[in-house]
């Protein structure tokens, strides 16, 4: 044919082909095989009640589920602890469920410990392997070579682990968490005669004197106290509660205070007793309360003779005027409330300082009164000195007396290496981790039996120190489990059944769900005559069993056998000349003790005080920074007697010139793509205090020195680097 014809034909064919391709196909419309469950309408979401497990507060949640996927977490309005509100971490638990790096089935270590090389195995193999190790211990009659390490547990899980360990014949169950409030339980028992956590009626108080009690970020029950704080401020007509914060570092909680007293670290107890003396000297105390507690003013004043104003002012570094004003305000504003927190407790004189603060409540006459302090519901019994338990377990591991360690949580990252924990753990021949992500602890494990995420789990939780009422929160799965994972208690049950004999007999439950249901049946059996199944469904729908106030028994009263608190001089690790600065490590709103670091929403949440994202940082007073030649964003090296780390510097006006602060949580080697290799872990800096009498978790008693490394801190902040220094622009 002619060229022209060829071109014409070719062009038309090409155009025709192109146009034919333009036709877009219709989508497919796929029906269900069987209809959705009754009550489930496709296209509309349902809400399931459960409880949050991200911190011990145990808030109630409602999870919005659409087409079998969890979309949003809200607070449960019916729950007495949080009343429909929820904190930043609670909002982020969806990302724990849907984390891209979740372990999807059991793993067995194939490379060296820490290499991250694992082989996928079946559950059968995994449970068989664990059973084999435990059987060996049984056969050698060395069942005390089993150790179980968990955070503090409550409810049915505590019961299960107790039975497991008792039946197996091992005393080595350590319930330890860096931020566990055992110190508060102990101090409360010593001061007020009841082993219970206190519940502070913040909402009704008119004067809050907080000694390092950071309730906005983490202390006891952040949502509950956050809610109470809002009410303290603005819920009452013409009454606005006043807040004075004592602490060398202005924490996020301290930022909401009306007055900040930057007391020298370790001097808080002295300040409390100094205030007590001033109050008694001017007879501003509650006389009835004092009499009722069997104390006499003159005797007390003699006891407190060493705490006169000049000495206290000198020790704390605070102006005398301020101390006098605060004493007067606290004593004359009724009801007043004093809280002691971690910043005080983790000093070398922590336990005594905490009791000194609790004493102020006695003088203010607020025990068991609105606006004061009550025993919290929830039973109260719990560990009082898990730190010494930790040290004794470390000693055992070091002495090769532990053959199998089963671990829930991430202690390899969240326990200061100065305790010797990581080193001692490395000597244990067989380590089992229940982690959901390949965190630092899982990387050291030989066998991983991955846990369900909280939103896939059954359980119950008894909030500690969260409410006056007795509350048992229920946890139920809101989605079908994503991977081939199992709840820790179910793994333990399976192991017990395989071991047979006494183990199987002590845990005759088909599943953990059955055990939880049985426990609830026992709890409500006396009250109800109705059908349990209906009651159970109703409890699940509600989110738990919410009791009444007054079911906690006796209130607080002064324990007559209590020894008088003598805080004494604080001691620090590190020579003052070589290490001139005090180090405070603090749990931030986002990371808590590190559990929040794997979640991207929390990494990208700007820290409220420094606005830093995706990093660690060192907070330095502006004057100190200027003296050391450090500018905002510079890379600095922080050295303590125990180690050193590097992190970018943040110029922070709200901290004493002789203090620096580093947030907890980063510096993980594992933990998924968002946490891995990011920032630094300040726990590596903490040194142990050589305290003759008794070991204590003095996490704030380490001294450090600072040197500038370079300007390449690579710090990223969401806000203006130093924040706006002129708030009058915005008129607030």
């Amino acid at each position: 044919m002619k060229r022209r014809t060829f071109l014409q034909l070719g062009g038309m064919t090409a155009a025709g082909a192109a146009l034919a391709g333009c036709r877009s196909g219709n989508e497919k419309l796929i029906p269900y095989l069987i209809p959705a469950d009754e009550g489930v309408t496709p296209g509309k979401a349902e809400y399931y009640a459960s409880s949050c497990r991200f911190c011990p507060a145990g808030c109630g949640i409602l999870v919005r589920v659409s087409d079998g996927r969890a979309k949003k977490v809200e607070g449960n309005p019916a729950h007495p602890v949080n009343r429909g509100k929820l904190c930043a971490r609670g909002q982020a638990i969806l990302q724990e469920l849907y984390h891209p790096d979740r372990i999807a089935q059991p793993l067995k270590r194939s490379g060296s410990r820490g290499s991250g090389e694992f082989r996928k195995i079946s559950w059968d193999e995994g449970i068989a392997l664990l059973t084999e190790k435990l059987k060996a211990l049984q056969q050698e009659k060395t069942t005390d070579r089993l150790a179980l390490l968990t955070p503090p547990l409550s409810g049915t899980l505590a019961d299960l682990t107790d039975r497991f360990m008792a039946a197996f014949g091992s005393p080595n169950h350590l319930s330890f968490e860096l931020l566990a409030p055992d110190w508060l339980r102990r101090a409360t028992r010593q001061a007020f005669g009841r082993a219970s956590l206190p519940w502070y009626d913040l909402a009704e108080t008119r004067y809050l004197l907080g000694f390092g009690a950071d309730f906005v970020e983490h202390h006891l029950s952040p949502v509950q106290y956050g809610h109470a704080f809002g009410r303290m401020r603005q819920a009452r007509d013409t009454v606005r509660g006043h807040f004075t914060y004592v602490g060398g570092r202005m924490s996020l909680t301290g930022a909401s205070a009306d007055r900040w007293l930057p007391a020298r670290p370790g001097s808080e107890g002295t300040l409390a007793l100094g205030l007590a003396r001033l109050i008694l000297a001017d007879s501003l105390h509650d006389e009835q309360a004092l009499a009722a507690s069997g104390l006499q003013r003159e005797k007390l004043l003699r006891r407190l003779a060493g705490y006169q104003l000049t000495r206290v002012a000198e020790q704390t570094g605070l102006p005398q005027q301020a101390i006098v004003e605060v004493a007067r305000e606290f004593a004359t504003t009724r009801p007043a409330l004093a809280m002691a927190g971690e910043a005080v407790a983790f000093q070398s004189n922590g336990p005594e300082a905490v009791r000194a603060v609790l004493l102020l409540n006695l003088l203010a006459g607020n025990l068991n009164r609105p606006g004061g302090v009550y025993p919290a519901g929830g039973g109260g019994a719990g560990p009082e000195n898990s730190f010494s338990g930790l040290l004794s377990l470390v000693a055992k591991m070091r002495a090769d007396r532990i053959g199998v360690a089963m671990i829930q949580g991430n202690p390899v990252h969240a326990i200061p290496p100065a305790t010797g924990f990581q080193e001692a753990l490395a000597r244990v021949p067989f380590i089992v981790s229940f982690a959901t992500l390949l965190d630092d602890t899982a990387l050291q494990a030989d066998l991983i039996l991955p846990d369900h995420a909280a939103l896939e789990s059954w359980g119950d939780v008894i909030p500690q120190g969260s409410a006056r009422e007795a509350v048992v929160g229920l946890i139920q799965p809101v989605v079908t489990p994503l991977g081939d994972t199992r709840q820790i208690p179910d793994s333990l049950l399976a192991t017990a059944h395989r071991l047979g004999g006494g183990m199987a007999a002590s845990l005759p439950f088909q599943s953990y769900r059955e055990m939880v249901k049985g426990a609830m049946r026992r709890r409500i059996a006396p009250a109800r005559g109705t059908d349990f199944e209906t009651a159970w469904t109703e409890l699940l729908r509600q989110g738990g069993l919410f009791g009444k106030i007054g079911s906690t028994g006796e209130g607080f009263r002064r324990a007559t056998a209590a020894a008088w608190p003598e805080p004494g001089e604080p001691r620090f690790a590190g020579d003052e000349k070589e290490y001139p600065l005090h180090l405070q490590v603090f749990p931030s709103t986002a990371f808590y003790d590190g559990r929040g670091a794997p979640l991207p929403w929390l990494q990208q949440l700007p820290d409220p005080m420094s606005t830093v994202v995706w990093d660690s940082w060192v907070e330095i007073n502006p004057r100190t920074a200027a003296e050391l030649g450090i500018s905002h964003g510079d890379l600095v090296e922080v050295t303590s007697p125990a180690g050193s780390l590097r992190a970018p510097a943040v110029i922070y006006p709200g901290i004493r010139p002789d203090m620096v602060a580093i947030p907890l949580g980063q510096g993980q080697q594992g933990g998924g793509r968002y946490a891995r290799g990011r920032g630094a872990n300040p726990l590596s800096l903490l040194a142990m205090i050589d305290e003759g009498t008794e070991p204590r978790p003095a996490w704030h008693a380490t001294r450090v020195r600072l040197t500038r490394v370079s300007e390449k801190g690579n710090l990223v902040t969401a806000g203006h680097p130093q924040g706006s220094y002129r708030s009058d622009l915005v008129g607030i």
Binding site: C22, R23, S24, G25, N26, E27, K28, L29, I30, P31, Y32, L33, I34, P35, T41, P42, G43, K44
Partner: protein
């Protein structure tokens, strides 16, 4: 030489204008309005001759944004006994045996940026046929409406329903 460049330029501009006009006016609706379905389900037989109401199968329409199509088990519930020997019914049971949902071809589809809630329209008292046509007369579903935004707006204006952008586009 310049003359030819000039003519080429005008021609190009004219082509662009013509093309734009064409794109604006053509339906550009290249979906099949009456696609073949994997099973020869006849709405005429079910909704027309047997008189089954729309909502009997498309159950969720009064309560949900999606109307829903019956699950395979719903079809099976009747057809275990009714016309069980017909070839199409045997094909239907085949899907059930293989635990495979029937891959129906979608006839009425709106883009992802549109929110269409069935329950609001049913509450407003609209008969299903106002958008879906006389389904009871169709052996094979055929779409006769354009489903373009202008078509939706006409009806909304007529019935004084909301024409706020955010009602449908959030």
């Amino acid at each position: 030489m310049n003359k030819w460049w000039y003519i080429a330029g005008v021609a190009a501009a004219a082509a662009v204008v013509a093309g734009s006009a064409l794109i604006y006016s053509l339906p550009l609706d290249t979906r099949d309005r009456s696609p073949r379905q994997p099973l020869a389900f006849s709405h005429k037989v079910h909704a027309g001759d047997q008189g089954i109401h729309c909502l009997y199968c498309h159950r969720h329409a009064p309560r949900s944004p999606v109307a829903g199509i019956p699950a395979v088990a719903d079809c099976r519930a009747c057809h275990l006994f009714i016309s069980a020997d017909r070839p199409e019914i045997i094909k239907l049971m085949g899907y059930w045996e293989k635990k495979e949902p029937i891959p129906w071809v979608r006839v009425y589809a709106l883009p992802d940026h549109v929110y269409f809630p069935h329950m609001m329209h049913i509450r407003a008292g609209l008969p299903c046929s106002s958008c879906h046509g006389e389904v009871a007369t169709m052996d094979r579903i055929t779409r006769s409406v354009s489903l373009k935004m202008g078509w939706c707006l006409d009806c909304h204006r007529q019935h004084t329903a909301s024409i706020d952008c955010w009602t449908c586009h959030i």
